[in-house]
Subunit: 339 residues, 2 copies
Amino acid sequence: MGCSEVHASLAAEVLIQADLRGIDSHGTARLSGYVRLWQQGRLNPQPQMEVVHETATTATVDGDRGLGLVVAPYAMEIAINKAKQYGSGWVAVRNSNHFGIAGYHALMAVKQDMIGYAMTNASPLVTPTYSKERMLGTNPICYAFPAGMYPPVVVDMATSAAANGKLEIAQRSGSDIPSGWVQTATGEPSINAHELKQGGALLPLGSDKQHGSHKGFGLSATVDIHSAVLSGANYGPWAPPFVAYLQPHPHPVGLGLGHFLGAMRADGFRPLTEFKQHMDNWIERFKQAEPIHPNQPVIIPGEPEHQAAQERSIHGIPVIDVVWADLEQLATNLKINFF
Amino acid sequence: MGCSEVHASLAAEVLIQADLRGIDSHGTARLSGYVRLWQQGRLNPQPQMEVVHETATTATVDGDRGLGLVVAPYAMEIAINKAKQYGSGWVAVRNSNHFGIAGYHALMAVKQDMIGYAMTNASPLVTPTYSKERMLGTNPICYAFPAGMYPPVVVDMATSAAANGKLEIAQRSGSDIPSGWVQTATGEPSINAHELKQGGALLPLGSDKQHGSHKGFGLSATVDIHSAVLSGANYGPWAPPFVAYLQPHPHPVGLGLGHFLGAMRADGFRPLTEFKQHMDNWIERFKQAEPIHPNQPVIIPGEPEHQAAQERSIHGIPVIDVVWADLEQLATNLKINFF
């Protein structure tokens, strides 16, 4: 695509870390999607990223339509440097694109013994409570906390009841989905895995009002406002779609997609060793919470991804045939040697 | 109780603001609960609050076992002052008690054209996904954003599927509750509004694994770690109960209950007028999202509370008989003139 060596390596690293951590939907399976955006001229492979507004601990970065995979780490570096100097750092990003897994960026802060924050808005697929209109993305949010002898606690979640990837799994296997994930174009409940293609919408976390979908909507709104209203990106239904076959809104309210990254020093609040000891104790106590079924203990947030990374580091990353074929096709189209 | 005039007025103000905003469960209805904690010696009416750890933009406050209603505003003032100087301010609080509605504290920042953050851990009533043990409180979190001509957007939510107050309403009316709010002591689904008294637990937002209860658990964990692991308060099942008839854990891991307050300048990211114009546009666009039923439009987070405050400012705050009788009894016990 014409990325610099440094940017290409970093983007590859972010995608491969997703695969390594078992989040296959956000890894190399997405590579051809980014390439298609570039082919349409919607992605700048040589962005001149810059800080356009700043205080001691806050900043807004313009990503110059670059790969989110590259823009978000650039912004997080700024947040981390501010945190080193002042205790915390917060960077809003405008004019960016899909940034991969939120966890990658948040974990950059954890390596510095900081709490990491990462969120992004996304293609509008989710409806607010009481509406039938797609107004929000799956708007993921990640909080990552360093621990002592245990892996970091990483809460990395879409703010919808289910992410689009889960629908795709059901589509491939031809099965229905649970009620509470999507609704029809007229706002009726549905268990059809193909509902989005018929004008339906994903539901916020909580699924319906009675079970707190207004909370999921509130969280998604929080991500949207931090990522886009604060930065000057496109928010709500104006957020540009990731898929290249859908065009961006003809009358944008901002520039590109938005993110929000943050870093806060754990030793800004108590000595680091104390914090880590209590994080370890927190993890141990929650691991020991009495299970309903003896063979299914409580899962600490981030634990499955850490285990996947451990295992795949040794045994390799399994790539399903359809992704392999897609990568092979991509290589052919771009006249790159494939394996 | 022996509070200073300033502290008593502030605590009353926080409780009355809850009533005014229509959050009756957290207003003067709770007054006798705070008094009972004081009678048991678990609440210090004359706290010497102090900053025990600090960087330019972070601090930890020790609340000296004071009323959370007083300690949290003290901490938020510090966060706001840091934000004025450095763009953002973040204060963890240990050794505190129940702080009332999160929204009160977050809105202190909004008055300064900052984004306000407030969260607290609470009495353990909520179980993590796959567990039957009460490990977490309803752990509310609040994000509050200033707008231009519209009221602020205020996301103020328990991270459980339903707050305890909703169970109490069903208890009073003798009705069942929806499935997905609680489980039995052995982890079975339940619609019994009295389930908590029989050893059951509240469920995290998402209700079950299939609908994302691990996300609700992750959010609740995020609140617990910010409020208590970072500050040096008691976390998870060690969090001291608000009700005076339950004793605190005999082997605490920290001091009292914990909170986390934050303030971030909106003009730390873009000019304030621009931010407010886009907040107004965000609000208008979401208000206009196509409704499922024409007479039920989308509700902007914080809108019902703002409307209640407007209406109750004019017509007064309705107080139900049981709360009135409770306040009257309290006055009699404390030899205070009642109306």
